[in-house]
């Protein structure tokens, strides 16, 4: 079963200059939520951005990773 840290590391390793924040939103070890910030998302549609992340995990999505809710950003939001 993947940990939040492992998911974060895999996303950051696969996507150039990515920073990811991953949480387990049910605490059950299979429903994750990730916010990923990377300049590599610039110019891509949301669908393409999310696909980049789904592709890292392949068939694990729907298997050991029951859900991976995603939010993708090209830069830090101003707040």
């Amino acid at each position: 079963m993947p940990t939040t840290d492992e998911i974060r590391q895999r996303i950051e390793a696969a996507i150039p200059d990515a920073r990811a924040n991953v949480s387990d939103f049910t605490g059950g070890g299979d429903h994750f939520e990730a916010t990923v910030i990377s300049p590599a998302f610039a110019g891509l549609s949301r669908i393409q951005q999310h696909r980049m992340i789904y592709e890292i995990f392949g068939s694990e999505i729907g298997g050991p990773i029951h859900a991976l809710a995603l939010k993708t950003l090209t830069e830090e939001p101003n707040d």
């Binding site: 669908i47 789904y54 859900a67 809710a69």
Partner: protein
């Protein structure tokens, strides 16, 4: 369907999925039904469409796991729900909710919501 060769049955399911996508201007593949969603992500997506008063067709992927398999092959998208508008994948729950909140969903659906509401299963 049980009498057919698996490969042939899968092709039939893929054709049916593909036909449903082209025939329904707004189509949601989901777990459960709009009246009784079987998953929180599907429920939230239905909620966004209903909040905008959008007429949409819905297909429950749960009765046969091949529906989901063939859909994911066609759409190159691994998770359920999946919302299609005018034959194009708009996104799953996260994207639909983001677009709902930003008002983009209402825009995208502005000219795609006039089709007849139908329930396919």
């Amino acid at each position: 369907m049980t009498e057919q060769q698996p490969a042939e049955a899968n092709t039939q399911i893929r054709d049916a999925v593909s036909a449903a996508i082209s025939e329904n201007s707004v189509l949601l593949f989901m777990k459960g039904t709009p009246e009784q969603p079987a998953c929180g992500f599907s429920a939230r997506t239905v909620g966004a469409l209903q909040a905008l008063n959008i007429r949409f067709a819905a297909i429950d992927v749960l009765p046969d796991q091949r529906i989901r398999q063939e859909l994911s092959v066609l759409s190159n998208w691994p998770t359920i729900p999946q919302l299609f508008v005018n034959g194009e994948l708009i996104g799953g729950c996260d994207i639909v909710m983001e677009m709902y909140q930003s008002g983009e969903l209402a825009e995208v659906l502005g000219d795609g919501s006039e089709g007849p509401q139908s329930q396919v299963s």
